[in-house]
Symmetry: C2
Subunit: 640 residues, 2 copies
């Protein structure tokens, strides 16, 4: 009998001790970090509303209770009863019964009404039919990404359960080493922006945190091939943790599966969906530009199949000696400050990932309260000594001015923006400005994946700022559905119409002008001095965006999408309106550390240009008297 | 055709261009770092005394010329001619003809007379017989180690040539990476003394520097199993460099071969022989103490078979992007400061290994002049703020006082000493003191491997201090052969006789009282308050030597060698006479850095107790304004 089997037997005995004598436990098993308890008496189990919580607290595990398949009622009968119990206003759009696990997945427009107060409706369902209900939200704006991911996971349900069981045993394996140490190895994004990747290692466990590409620097990927990364094989990694879906953090995650990795990816649910969207687009853009992407779309599916969703604030066992907790980072949908508790009180490391410290229209500011934290790995994108941005109110005023000026001279505004994050923030600004009459009503065209990304945002309102969530669901005043927003889905023809038409605003990807439909808008709008290009986000070194921002007006154009290649002379005005960045500025970064509770002993300043990380590292040292570092890529720091 | 074959073809063409038209080059091949040139006209080749030097300088390679086997004269005839050419006083003791390579190995008491002025006699031999002579010294004191190593290498000659050819191709392989970086990973001896081990890595190459055990801390070995060490397989290491033969640097070298390593070990010739001696003894001691050593003696033979001897000052290609140069370190016989030139002018790292800065009786002081060096990895054994030793003259006076006092009260002196290094130093002191009448003539008993280690010293006088070398060979006044020195080769019976006899001095291993015959001397001498134990070398934390030095007088004794076990009460006086250490003291360490030319930008302070490395690191920073570090084990520093 293996150590894990002994452990499960012990757990079953403990559970049997805790539950009333009339409840039979037929099996106990691990699926990923969760302990799944099978019972022959699901109805009785559900009648004690506090039982699962008590068990979870006693065993210090995340617990799911499922009916033994033998005792299930027939889906046809069950469906009728379930629909009877759920209030009509919940807007159930789909019911899906899985006899293998006794789960019924309920898709509804208002999941809260399916759950009921403190889960009371869910328990009522189980008491009535025995099945274990699981609730997902029907996307308020149809999202092909969300429905593709859900359908794919449904179709791969059996294999996924096998994967989760294997991972579960891996997580709960016995610790082998008497040694104690905690290390971080830097594989990318040190003294540079892009290709974020780190290894957190202990004698037991090796965790990869992020695995991105470097925008504007083709082929520059994290140092995955060195021995301390994947040099001894992709499965020398126990787990991958993804802080958020931007490609400079996620693009190479699917590559890990091509290299043979078959372990878990821990991230929030929106990060999983956005990663799917962005990595597939990454492949698409590469193909269109005649580049050979490092992996195919089947690897994106593998990655999604191996995702284990984490909710903000949940403490999750991801290895025998590592617990992961993710917290809102305020940067993009699903972005997470990731906290690792290592050993039994041995050490704590927090990775900020990319953060926004102050509240924005979309998100609450980043969380910086932890039970304990000794070392912080801190983004420093705007860590330079002069990287102060105007506050958002000023930025909005400036943006509106630019739009008004351009409108007055009959010009058009094009805003390159990341599909995910800044686009939605700008949409909210524009919607309000038009509603309040600060700028004229005019069409706002959304090109690239912005529309789809917006749909994903509305699927996960729990991850948005409180009052925005309320507007989307409670007041039926979803700002993203305002009529001036037009989804460009007619290709070049539609773009030509827009270019030939009246003043308007275009939001288009890619955000750093490294490819995608923005290249087409450059051609359409670039030659007219009445038009304006407005940068609202960070432009990395080496990107065309950074060059245009710095004054380049001769832009080499490749002949993609059938257009002629050659050089394009930009006549339109170029403006930068900062303050909309998804990143904290220097002040925000300092505030994050200043108000962090508890204050860390050591800070590794990463994810910034060389001068930014060095400025920021030196400032933190002088202001807060902590040990600070500006690591290079390929270094290893030992903390214990 | 492989890249290496193309390279060899090009080299052959270059050589053919340089040599006179009447000399035919039949083949060119690599053996380890050397370029071997086979010629059908060895006699003509040898007639131009400067030709090999010109070729070496043109091709920037170490060059060996050998006759094509087809053109060789018969050994019987050749032997007669060779003996005729070599002056009788050279004392030839053996001639060994190897028809496969056309080499004749000449063992002689005075190798210099076989070589002749600037190699004239060697060239005369080749001009006469065509064979390529190679000269080795007949050990002036018979050494079983030297003769075993030589016989073993003779017996394994064919396999060794295969190994060298394989390594040669490996060294001269084409560089694959466009990337540039230089890193050092610490695997041991950081904030501790013992288990020295580092990895120097570039995108092309990974080199292991030293691989020792930790005296007094059983089972504590370098972190070889982490991915960046051997985690991806022992042959992810390209080369091993051994700075010197002490077990805290060499003990686990044979283990690498058990793990499957089959690459080269670069070290000086005396280090190779001493490593053989010390690691075999390490296995012997382990067996006697009932421990299970991590490898068997056949792995020591593998290690010796893979040694590539390096002479001080020779620049040697050890990888496509790494050149190694070893320099005298003044610490023990063959000990080397090891300098790595990486890339074509990219970066230079020097490892001090263990050093003695000032001249001692045995050795010249450590070399600290280099063409370039940016980073120094520096031993800090006596780096603590108070680690100043009296100078050697004072130390010698003190030692003589202790001996005289003990003699006067009819007591005996026992000195625990490393077999290699300190023993010979003390022997030189005692021999002179008796010769000059500073202490009474009395027997000096040498126990453990001291006699054998001394024999090895006399085999390699080139590695000893100039005037000592002269005494050994030119004046026939070899101090190591003085009649008071007695080799204890009669075991316990002889020890009992010594214990029962008149005043005397015993030099015995192990130097830190962690096992070996010193345990027996403790039992014999310990209970008599008239006796003295004198420590003359560093005692590592956790060793019995350190404890006794600190005042322990109840010594637990195991019952090895048939004696009863239990506790031994030490009544004899314990003295420490420092100043004989093979290590520089704090002053010497500082002087090494102060006078180093050029001065390095960065210093990693290693190989010292935690407080010593931190004191020393901080002192270097404040005195010389350099970047200094006191690394932990398992860290990786990147320099480029």
């Amino acid at each position: 009998m293996s150590a894990v089997e002994r452990q499960l037997d012990d757990l079953q005995a403990e559970i049997e001790e805790e539950v009333p004598a009339d409840i039979t436990i037929s099996d106990v098993t691990y699926e990923g970090p969760e302990l799944v308890v099978y019972t022959r008496d699901p109805k009785e189990f559900a009648s004690d509303g506090d039982l699962v919580r008590r068990l979870a607290s006693k065993l210090r595990k995340r617990i799911t209770v499922r009916p033994d398949p033998d005792v299930l009622s027939h889906p046809r009968e069950a469906e009728e009863q379930v629909r009877d119990i759920i209030p009509e206003e919940a807007g159930v759009t789909d019911l899906d019964f899985h006899a293998d696990t006794g789960e019924v997945v309920i898709e509804a427009q208002k999941p809260g009404m399916v759950i009921g107060r403190h889960g009371s409706t869910l328990r009522e369902i189980t008491r009535a039919v025995g099945w274990t209900p699981e609730v997902v939200r029907t996307p308020p704006i149809e999202s092909s990404t969300v429905s593709n991911v859900r359908n794919f996971l449904k179709q791969e349900r059996d294999e996924r359960r096998d994967i989760l069981e294997r991972i579960g045993r891996q997580i709960h394996r016995e610790e082998m080493s008497d040694d104690e140490w905690v290390r971080i190895t830097t594989l990318g994004c040190c003294r540079e922006v892009g290709r974020a990747s780190f290894i957190v290692s202990t004698p037991e466990t090796r965790i990869l945190v992020d695995c991105g590409d470097k925008p504007g620097a083709e082929g520059e990927v994290p140092y995955l091939q060195v021995p301390e990364a994947l040099g001894a094989g992709a499965n020398t990694i126990d787990a991958v943790v993804l802080t958020h879906a931007h490609l400079d953090h996620s693009a190479l995650i699917p590559l890990l599966f091509k290299y043979g990795y078959d372990g878990p990816i821990y991230c929030t649910e929106p990060t999983r969906d956005l990663m799917g969207l962005l990595t597939l687009d990454y492949l698409d853009v590469a193909a269109k530009e005649g580049r050979n992407p490092p992996y195919g779309s089947e690897m994106v599916r593998e990655a999604i199949k191996h995702c284990i969703p984490i909710e903000y604030g949940d403490v999750t066992d991801i290895a025998p000696d590592v617990k992961l907790t993710m917290h809102n980072a305020g940067h993009i949908l699903g972005s997470a400050v990731s906290h690792f508790h290592i050993g039994d009180g041995l050490y704590n490391v927090a990775f900020s990932g990319d953060i926004h410290y102050d509240d924005t229209r979309l998100f609450n500011g980043a969380v910086n309260e932890f039970p304990r934290v000794e070392t912080l790995v801190m983004e420093s994108t705007y860590g330079g000594r002069n990287d102060y941005q105007t506050d958002q109110e000023d930025s909005e005023r400036k943006l509106k001015e630019v739009i008004n000026e351009t409108y007055e001279r009959d010009g058009k505004v094009v805003i390159p923006a990341f599909a995910v994050g800044r686009s939605q923030e700008i949409m909210l600004v524009l919607e309000e400005a038009m509603r309040k009459g600060d700028i004229p009503e005019m069409p706002v065209h959304l090109d690239g994946m912005i529309w789809e990304a917006t749909a994903i945002h509305t699927t996960y309102p729990e991850y948005l700022r409180d009052d925005l969530r309320d507007r989307i669901f409670h007041e039926d005043a979803n700002p993203f559905l305002a009529e001036q927003f037009n989804h460009i889905d007619g290709g070049e023809e539609e773009r030509q119409d827009v270019a030939d038409g009246d003043p308007c605003i275009v939001l288009s990807t890619s955000g750093m002008v490294t490819g995608g439909p923005i290249m087409s808008w450059l051609r359409h709008f670039g030659p007219d001095p009445n038009n304006r290009m407005v940068f609202v986000g960070y432009q990395a070194q080496g990107t065309l965006g950074r060059r245009i921002q710095n004054g380049w007006d001769e832009v080499p154009m490749s002949g993609d999408r059938g257009s002629r290649s050659g050089t394009l002379t930009l006549e339109m005005d170029v403006k930068t309106v900062d303050g909309f960045s998804g990143h904290a500025d220097r002040q925000g970064l300092e505030n994050f550390v200043r108000t962090m509770n508890p204050r860390p002993e050591k800070v590794l300043c990463v994810h910034g240009d060389e001068s930014s990380v060095q400025d920021f590292s030196s400032a933190l040292y002088h202001e807060f008297n902590m040990r600070t570092f500006a690591p290079k890529n390929l270094e290893t720091f030992r903390f214990k």
